[in-house]
Symmetry: C2
Subunit: 440 residues, 2 copies
């Protein structure tokens, strides 16, 4: 039986998972692929530690010492790239700088398929990488780059191909969802929930990209290209994280029959695609409201098949590793035929703030008689219909209440707030909190 | 641009959906497949009616008259089979008799790919059909045969391939789920909910296969082969439908924090695969409990990536049609490479009744003092641990109560019941209702 030969560059959390599965499932994978999948080399800066951590034979590691110098690592990378017997390289080094981009491009330029979990790299350098893929007729597997074990990439490229995706919404970051779930289920503060996420290993020591929406933003950037053919500059995507979510917000949400979730959202209307990552109030009737802990979920709203929801683990060594192994198998089976140009379109990215959506607005006001009327009138002046005014909380000093709107734009709401601030200066004690409501 | 030419045999609900999508999405499909997908012929016994119903050009129909004789239909079938320019035939005639099997085999023997939604045919004649597929190097697309728009077939064959599926559980029949949802949400009787399902077009005039578990049984038979390499004779699969579910059962379930769902279930332990289709009490923490209406859902429990759940519409013209179109695209892109032998294994089908599972047992007893103790003792004698005894309902004549067990086998429970019937004849007024409990 011929074999399909694989090398792994970077054997940390995800690379280690890939190696482990390739070795443990060798027979099953061969039967499934119709060809032996052979792990031939692993390159990691710390061979001994990686080998020990993942229980992998040290003989597979380039060098095999305790630590490689950058220079040695560079030489071994060259060796792997020039080894014509290697069919596919797994890039699990991480980072999105020039050095990693060069390695990814070199893999393809040297006639090898590439499999990667690197969402930041693809979000920033997608055109360069997929250009090299097409130029060399070598494929890029990136199932693991978006929502780990959820087969959303092959889902879009190979499964929902008989349909037209009109909108997508998803919980694309496990750490944020873990924190929000803990705040909701156990009444924890944001800081306490974040600390627990870090203790559980879900959040990095520097959790910035997880909680500021950057990580799901990278994923959404990739999905926008795949689904709508949209080339989005990551910097142009309106992104808001969960840092500003308080226990009070969670309580309001629960009273409204909603959960607060960090949602990656995109909707196509004509040639406009409205997209964002931001916290939303998700109605209980929407399955996304039920996704607990570090789990991810993606919902597609399709022209013909209506809703499809895919749920699974978004991170983890073996979870993400299994997604990369599925790419290896796919490329072993379909080879060059799996090289696909990413879709292009005339669509343009529009600000989510111009899309009509339901919103909840929380006003913290001075305890002035008539303030509810003043606020409601200003909203009405912007031709926004109000669904409910509710959840009043008074204390001697001020009043907190929320208004849920019928579909309107964020821009309209901002105009209403400006009107209140102009006609009744000082009546709004805080900037009103405006959160979209995701319905059924 | 070259084209990939498609003919449709049988243009009813599903075939009509396929044709509609192929025509409406012609440009998008070509861009996605890298080749024009051309619908060249439709064969239906009633061309005029089918054309009118689906808004399809009559010119595509063989004959084009009001009605074809069986003889004419046979001649047109021959024509299509012998037309070397046709690459793929969609079989959406339905039925699982010899005539349909012959057509399916002929498609492959004439060197054409086959796409079908026919679960009964595949469940009964899988080996013959996939044998012909391999023999002729022509593929069978059957995404639409299991859970309509949910990409569970490509999910298993192309996406979760880097993992090992240990168990699956799913809501595989929309009609049953619609009925159970209505009974739960609106307190309807079984008969009223069934009538509503028929009025809504979810259930056939003869709903037998939907509500007696036959339809999900066909789907589970196909999944058992795909996932575990198990050749199951459909007749050997233990299947129970929802006919016996009463409003009282639904109420008991709700009190226990469960929903009643018709579950297709399979679990591998060593070389044993325990499988069944039957009503289960599904705990609220399990997402399958949230699936409402005619929606389908499949959950996979995997060695590496843990749980994955796929949710979507299981039936409908365009929903199922879109799944077939995705098969057409897949085969247009990957051609012969998409021909895959189905997995084989040494696994054997074991009775679900021998698998340790949590159960709920509802006893209807004469109102005899001490009956709870008698029942609990008999259960203890079979070394079954009791989780809870609860939900007593007394009336002057009799008592109804339920016992939820820790994991035990159905066989153990039966032995306990026999003991009670032996030692206290007449104390059990009805055959106790034994329903498995599906936890998190």
């Amino acid at each position: 039986m011929a074999s399909f030969r694989v090398a792994i560059l970077g054997c940390g959390t995800v690379g280690g998972g890939v190696a482990k599965i390739l070795l443990e499932q060798r027979e099953a994978l061969a039967a499934r692929a119709g060809i032996e999948i052979e792990l031939v080399r692993i390159l990691d800066l710390f061979p001994a530690a990686s080998s020990k951590r993942h229980g992998l034979p040290i003989e597979l590691y380039c060098g095999g010492s305790n630590e490689l110098s950058r220079e040695e690592a560079g030489q071994f990378t060259e060796e792997i790239l020039k080894d014509d017997s290697i069919d596919l390289v797994v890039e699990t080094i991480g980072g999105s700088g020039q050095a990693i981009l060069d390695i990814a491009l070199s893999v393809l330029d040297h006639g090898k398929h590439l499999a990667t979990a690197n969402k930041a790299l693809l979000a920033k350098h997608g055109p360069a990488i997929f250009g090299a893929s097409n130029r060399n007729s070598r494929a890029v597997g990136f199932e693991a780059a978006v929502c780990g074990a959820i087969p959303i990439i092959k889902g879009i490229r190979e499964c929902f191909t008989g349909d037209e995706i009109l909108a997508l919404s998803g919980i694309l970051n496990g750490t944020s969802n873990y924190i929000l779930s803990k705040m909701e289920a156990e009444g924890q503060s944001f800081d306490a929930a974040l600390k627990q996420a870090q203790d559980q290993g879900y959040a990095e020591a520097d959790p910035a990209l997880d909680i500021n929406g950057g990580d799901p933003g990278h994923k959404l950037t990739i999905l926008l290209k795949l689904v709508f053919g949209l080339d989005v500059d990551f910097e142009d995507l309106p992104i808001e994280g969960i840092e500003s979510i308080t226990s009070a917000d969670i309580n309001f949400a629960q009273e409204m029959g909603c959960s607060v979730k960090l949602i990656g959202y995109a909707k196509k209307e004509g040639d406009d695609v409205f997209a964002t990552v931001r916290p939303m109030l998700v109605k209980r009737a929407n399955l996304l409201s039920d996704i607990q802990g570090a789990t991810n979920a993606v919902r597609l709203d399709n022209r013909y098949s209506q809703e499809n929801v895919l749920i699974g683990e978004g991170a983890g060594s073996l979870e993400t590793g299994s997604a990369i192994v599925s790419d290896i198998l796919f490329l072993a089976k379909y080879g060059e035929k799996a090289v696909q140009e990413l879709p292009s379109s005339d669509c343009r990215l529009r600000s989510f703030n111009e899309l009509a959506f339901r919103y909840n607005i929380v006003f913290t006001t001075a305890d002035v008689p008539g303030i509810t009327g003043i606020v409601a009138t200003a909203i009405g002046n912007q031709k926004i219909n109000i669904d409910t005014v509710s959840h009043n909380r008074h204390d001697p000093e001020n009043a907190v209440f929320s208004i849920a709107t019928m579909p309107c734009t964020y821009v309209q709401i901002q105009a209403a707030i400006e009107e209140i601030q102009g006609s009744h200066p000082g009546s709004l004690l805080e900037e009103p909190k405006i959160i979209p409501i995701l319905g059924e």
